[in-house]
Point group: C2
Chain length 125, copies 2
């Protein structure tokens, strides 16, 4: 089980690399068999090549993640964080408050990511 | 599947009733077969009578929950929220940033609660 500080460091790297539009850097944080469910309730994206396709779309130069409050650890291999995600489309700004929960493998790679946000959470201006 | 606004209303009631030291009110939000894992990584508390024992300990008149940011929904039966929990013991104030994820049954009762916080998250003053 990776240590709590390793989990939090990787989660912080995930945000920083995302905000630098560093897709390869984001992908390098995931394990080969990882899964991504974003939003929770949608079909999970499974395995690193499918996850690569997913992040190539969402790391698009105009999507930014702001961490809100401290990253939370757990008493196992999980961490959780509250985020504000902002993007734009068709001249509109889209803001979504999101909570992401991640689990980690023995090597400290992301094994799963779940992003909690609902249709009612999206604010379009 | 309960609607997103039902999920968020119940999660807000959970906080409000907890802060009013209304143990019975908190318990009435849970389904009979519910589980509570607090913190994540500890053995789950299973079933309503075990959950009653758990909340009779933690709803103790000096533990308060502050919601940080909006409660997040999902595209399924889940919600998530960022909290700051404050309590006291032996003359010390204990603050813990926590993220709670809940799932809900068809009736809008809490089916599971997971509280993400790690040993390194606790601040004692």
């Amino acid at each position: 089980m990776p240590q709590e500080d390793v989990i939090k460091t990787v989660m912080k790297q995930y945000i920083d690399r995302f905000n630098q539009d560093d897709v390869e850097g984001v992908l390098s944080l995931f394990g080969e068999e990882a899964t991504v469910e974003d939003p929770v309730g949608s079909p999970a994206v499974e395995g690193k090549s499918a996850i690569a396709e997913f992040y190539k779309k969402v790391v698009n130069g105009n999507t930014r993640i702001r961490l809100e409050g401290p990253i939370r650890g757990s008493h196992s291999n999980s961490g959780a964080m509250a985020l504000q995600i902002t993007t734009s489309a068709e001249g509109k700004t889209i803001s979504i408050p999101v909570i992401e929960v991640m689990t980690f493998d023995e090597q400290g790679s992301i094994a799963s990511m779940k992003a909690y946000w609902g249709p009612g959470d999206m604010v379009i201006k």
